[in-house]
């Protein structure tokens, strides 16, 4: 998401080669992501400077999840795109325009998280913590992402699917929505209906990144009766995802946008409703909390 900013800010990133001398690059002030090269001062540091000014805007001065954070950021990037006549270059801008919620499971990891932390450090060190009030609360994201799945399955009698590109923390974050429903909030549910994985991680190392849909089914993440509807493609995503997208565009009609971001409050209320009506532990936990 951080690197999305370069495009919306119209700062140049270049396609080069991964076989370069990185010590030389560093000396010359060039930063590398595989075969993408950009200037340290004019792109990286400049993006940071602009980002910090954005983070000090009023709409960011509160506790929020990344879902809301990226909405505010996407709105600004959408304005940048328009102002600079860039066309569609920013992922967050397109998500903003279409009401698509965006989540990050590791909000502190990335240059965005680093600048949020830097500003918090500054505000605290200079006695301005009552003015700079941005805090990312991951619990909000856990519940907001869960509310999307619960609503689709329980309130709209629909089906849900996960498309997992790569592994790591984002993979589990998407898959844990069902255990959050079943195991933590104790709302009866049976797992998602479809699961498409594009990854180069294999099961044999035992980690989550390579864990197949069937392992997820043993947790209730995926409906165990629908394992035949799951697919794992061991492919470079830069090949697999364009193929998948082109195929989808060519073979299916456009659908009405769900604009799930806009329905955040409604979905949250349904989650609370389902939780309170089902959870046998609610009273016990309330009792414990009240003793605090």
């Amino acid at each position: 998401m951080y690197h999305d900013l370069h495009f919306a800010f119209n700062l140049p990133v270049h396609r080069g080669s991964h076989t370069v001398d990185d010590a030389d690059l560093r000396e010359k002030g060039v930063t590398r992501i595989y075969d993408i090269l950009f200037d340290y001062e004019d792109v990286l540091m400049e993006t940071d400077r602009r980002l910090r000014e954005i983070l000090i805007r009023p709409e960011f001065q509160k506790e929020m999840g990344t879902r809301e954070f990226y909405y505010h950021l996407g709105k600004i990037l959408n304005e940048c795109e328009k102002k600079n006549n860039l066309g569609q270059v920013s992922v967050l801008a397109v998500a903003y325009r279409n009401g698509i919620p965006v989540f990050t499971s590791s909000p502190g990891d990335s240059t965005i998280g680093m600048n949020v932390a830097g500003l918090e450090l500054l505000a605290q060190a200079t006695g301005l913590q009552d003015l700079f009030k941005l805090k990312i609360n991951p619990s909000i994201d856990v519940n907001d992402s869960t509310a999307i799945i619960l609503n689709a399955k329980r309130y709209e009698n629909g089906k849900t699917a996960v498309i997992l590109i790569g592994g790591g923390s984002p993979k589990n974050f998407m898959l844990q929505t069902e255990p959050q429903i079943q195991e933590v909030l104790m709302i009866p549910e049976v797992g998602q209906d479809y699961d498409i994985n594009i990854t180069d991680a294999r099961p044999d190392t035992g980690g989550l990144s390579g864990a197949p849909p069937s392992e997820a089914a043993s947790w209730g993440k995926i409906d165990p009766t629908k394992l035949e509807e799951t697919v794992t493609a061991y492919l470079d995503v830069t090949v697999a995802f364009p193929l998948l997208t082109a195929y989808t565009i060519q073979t299916t009609k456009s659908k009405k946008l769900k604009r799930l971001y806009d329905r955040g409050q409604e979905l949250h209320e349904k989650l609370v409703e389902s939780y309170l009506e089902n959870n046998k532990e609610v009273e016990k936990l309330k009792g414990l909390i009240k003793k605090l």
Copy 2:
């Protein structure tokens, strides 16, 4: 870290096989992590129940980073270990006893994060949010992890090393400490001195997980003059890490523990000091914040 709890709680986890019928496992209430099997009700749900009671204890009722969160949890698991005469079975307990800080870059992703989120939902839904006050703030972790590196390099004139097991978000979280110093806090620094990677991710997919130490050097994460001190072993960590550990134990003398957890406040103050004395932008940012 969540699965560490099973061991400290003395709940049974079994070594089995990864070639099982997961739909059958789900029906029988067995949960699988590759070739590890455990009971859904008696282990997973029971761990969750105990965890929630722990999270309602007074020491957790505040905003904190995962560094502090795991310290409190490790202290409790240490008591569990002792009470049950289990020997050393918990990673968090051993970290607690030795004053070793533990961080997670994705605090909402995991059953611990799910239960924190569940309790927050409960407290808010039942008007108890003034009693249950646990919030994980990732910015605290970003700055606390950075403070460790800064102290070693700038205040103790020492060398630093990263040992990266696997990739994903934790890899960048460890490596971003140097950019947090140089790029965000603008404190002059040159990168870490040693970098050992154990991974099965290759560079060619272009992602962070497989990015080699040299790419990190182009960011200032690793000192570009010390790339010869970096190693990437493309090996299953269950083989590589025991070999590395056994070799280290056999060839080096015990060192005095640094107990960096205990020095958290001191390291934080040094970070603030270095930041304020160097950052040209501090005044400008203060000005912007004051206008809020």
Copy 3:
């Protein structure tokens, strides 16, 4: 090449799943290649029976390389295709029709090699070795494959390319043509002009399968001044090759077939000519051989 026979013989092979119980398959007489399933008795054993009858035909009763062997086999499979109105189902038949030479670097490894060996055993054990005279001589293939490259580069002033799908013995067999020219036959040459690799083998294990084009350049296999014309795609070939083929068909005009098989004798003579005019060791080696 063996499995090409099933198609030309119109014996059924089925697409199934790789997640099956192989002990059960064996009991039921089903043989598996990943997700391809076929009957042991009616397909595998039947293919072998027909193959053995083919191998006893007169045109196979001589010493030959696999280039000639596959030509004779392709001619028969071409007849099978036509007789059964199968359309184009056999790779060897299409190679036969177009005069494309086909080589195998490991002629004894495969069910074809096994049946050749079985017939040789039978003939020798029953005193019929003067009638069944088929012998595969790998040296003929080494020189015939080399002659193709030498002719293109030295006699036709052209450029050559290798398209390497996968690794192992076939990869080196194609690449060793240049060292055979330069290092063994001592004919001045500089390496092939283009090198496209589609593989999942990475360089780090140190083997030939994952060795990049640059390593090949250090041997003179690839022209070291043309490394920018080389590509390695770390991709499943079932995805990469159709994409490459479709792109080629859509963007280039049909070319006249080279029918290199038909020119085998001519290319062989040019190889001998170039060898004898250049090799300083020829006289010395002749002297050594004459002393035998």
Copy 4:
């Protein structure tokens, strides 16, 4: 096997780095195998010169399999080792001394095969083909390797194991011994008893290199009732094999050598005996051959 010669000839090979400029290496006459470097003229060409003189010795002037070829070569390398007081540096020399048969499934692929082919070209071009008579016949190897398995299982009532390091053609060559017994020679047998794989090839690409022991069981290569005795370790062999070897040496007593090379004729005769007594097709095939 070719690179084994450098060691027996006491020609220097150096450990370097895989991150070098290969065009520069080529210009300077240095050849690279991953991180191994050696001189093109003084090591590669010199090894070839000595090899060609060896191949002209009288013991090589016949048709043979690689089993016999490597025996003769190992005998000479054993003498080189002794003469130069090198200790144990050559794999072929140690195999020679211990009567261990060595096979190659792709005899034309390698610098040994290239030099055999070069000498054949020379002899034919200069009318010396009646003096230089070395021909590698892969069928001999197919039957000789099969005879080892058949003898162990059928005549000595023993168990057999395959240890497969890497994949490709050598993997199938070892595994096809059972199909050669059952499917081609039609001798009743049930598959090998143990199967250890060390590889980085995964099953999902569908190739033989990554095919698991269970797939082999569907072919009768491995006894389908003994799949629990099979292991696949997805590990770099440079780590896995030393661990396996050290463990074996430390935990098992030395066993008497089988010296299977020395028993070649006996094993061959047993294979013929078993073949003729079982094969229902022998008479039919004899009839077909006699019509030639």
